[in-house]
């Protein structure tokens, strides 16, 4: 999901065994009792490190996620669509801000987090390394990418770590607008001219598989999931969430009159589920490793923004210091 890089990072459940057994027992008893863990409470180091990685990856994804859609703000086809898109991109910035704040409660500074993103040390969701080639991509992102994100984020509202859970509740309240404006945009295109229907289908063709990959590797290749589930950082596995997303989305595509680009897709009446064709995990691994269509552009855009904003940050601090001195005098 927005934190899929975690799948390759946090596979060290044994660290939990090196903690003070009495404290660990008490901590796990609280988790089992559905109590929330708050910043100043004792927690195992593996729990803290996993959360720092997961929440910060989520925050980075929100911030980098502003770029593909931001690309279309100046070219939105109407003033209303432009206002909607600005509001949505502003929300993503807000979500990044809530999540960075939640991460900082675990004892890491904002500056360190930003540095991890800009140096390439931190991951963000692979989905944002794909380009937005047409206006229909703005619709496909809202419908599919935000739809997939919601699937993942709703259970995170019940995450055992209080600040993350509270941030997710706030985010989920806002996310539904993102998905609905995307579907609404697709609907207008799907009911429009032949050329409009064509770009809608083309956007679905390009965003479908990367959206399925957002949920991360299959459960069989996701070794640390067990500990994350036990500590209630994660409530469902990658495959469970992906399946749910497919079952929700296929009928929505049908309503649009668009075709899911998967010839193997079929309905399994016995399981009561859709079955998708083989996902190309080599593409996913490639994008996560930095070789997607836009990885370099995305990071460069963030670095440029950070560098061009440096003088503003410094000037604001100098201004505040000057006024503090004047007030003290």
């Amino acid at each position: 999901m927005y934190t899929q890089g975690l799948n390759e990072l946090a596979a060290r459940p044994l660290a939990a065994m090196q903690e003070d057994p009495a404290l660990l027992r008490r901590f796990e008893a609280r988790i089992d009792a559905e109590e929330k863990i708050e910043p100043k409470d004792w927690m195992p180091d593996a729990y803290r490190q996993t959360l720092i990685r997961q929440i910060s990856q989520h925050a980075h994804s929100e911030i980098v996620g502003m770029l593909p859609e931001g690309n279309w703000i100046t070219r939105a086809p109407s003033l209303l669509r432009k206002s909607i898109l600005i509001a949505k991109v502003q929300d993503e910035g807000g979500h990044g801000a809530y999540l960075y704040s939640a991460t900082e409660t675990l004892g890491i500074s904002r500056a360190e987090l930003i540095e991890q993103l800009l140096s390439g040390a931190a991951k963000y969701s692979s989905i944002f390394n794909y380009p937005t080639l047409t206006w229909a991509d703005v619709g496909a992102i809202g419908w599919l990418v935000d739809g997939a994100a919601i699937m993942n984020q709703i259970p995170l509202c019940r995450c055992s770590y209080g600040p993350y859970s509270r941030a997710m509740i706030r985010i989920c309240k806002e996310e539904s607008f993102h998905q609905r404006q995307g579907y609404d945009l697709m609907l207008k295109l799907a009911r429009g001219s032949a050329a409009q229907r064509a770009i809608a289908q083309d956007a679905l063709n390009r965003w479908w598989w990367p959206s399925l990959m957002m949920f991360g590797p299959p459960d069989t290749a996701s070794p640390h999931t067990a500990l994350s589930v036990r500590w209630k950082i994660k409530r469902f596995t990658n495959d469970e969430l992906r399946q749910k997303f497919v079952d929700f989305t296929v009928p929505q595509a049908r309503f649009l009159g668009l075709e899911i680009p998967d010839p193997a897709l079929r309905w399994d009446a016995e399981r009561g589920q859709h079955v998708v064709g083989e996902i190309d995990w080599s593409e996913f691994q490639d994008v996560v490793r930095g070789n997607g269509p836009c990885n370099r552009d995305r990071l460069q855009a963030r670095r440029d923004a950070h560098e061009s904003g440096r003088w503003v940050r410094e000037a604001a601090l100098a201004h505040a210091a000057k006024h503090a001195r004047a007030a003290a005098a």
């Binding site: 708050e38 100043k40 807000g94 900082e104 509270r166 806002e174 940050r313 604001a316 503090a324």
Partner: protein
């Protein structure tokens, strides 16, 4: 110190409607309190979530220690006589 120090952290409290308490909603970084107020407005009230905002430097808050929670709050546990339901009043006695 980190070569790019963060702006100071401010805790944000929002009053959702007149008549309600200000409630903690999160935090923002800002160069000073006036900027914290502007950031809080953008980050926490994009959908009419508030009619009033307070900002407080995070370092100015003294919080109780969770490890001492028992010592701090436990003494209130056995003082049931502080609650009105502790007292059995005959039902003949009205308006009490």
């Amino acid at each position: 110190m980190h070569p790019n120090p963060d702006w100071p952290l401010y805790e944000i409290f929002v009053r959702a409607r007149g008549g309600l308490d200000h409630k903690h909603v999160g935090s923002v970084h800002a160069a000073d309190a006036a900027m914290a107020l502007e950031h809080a407005r953008d980050v926490y009230t994009r959908r009419l979530e508030g009619v009033s905002v307070w900002v407080v430097r995070s370092t100015d808050i003294l919080a109780s220690d969770p490890a001492e929670a028992d010592a701090l709050f436990e003494p209130a546990r056995d003082k049931v006589y502080r609650h009105p339901t502790f007292y059995d009043i005959p039902k003949e006695v009205e308006t009490l």
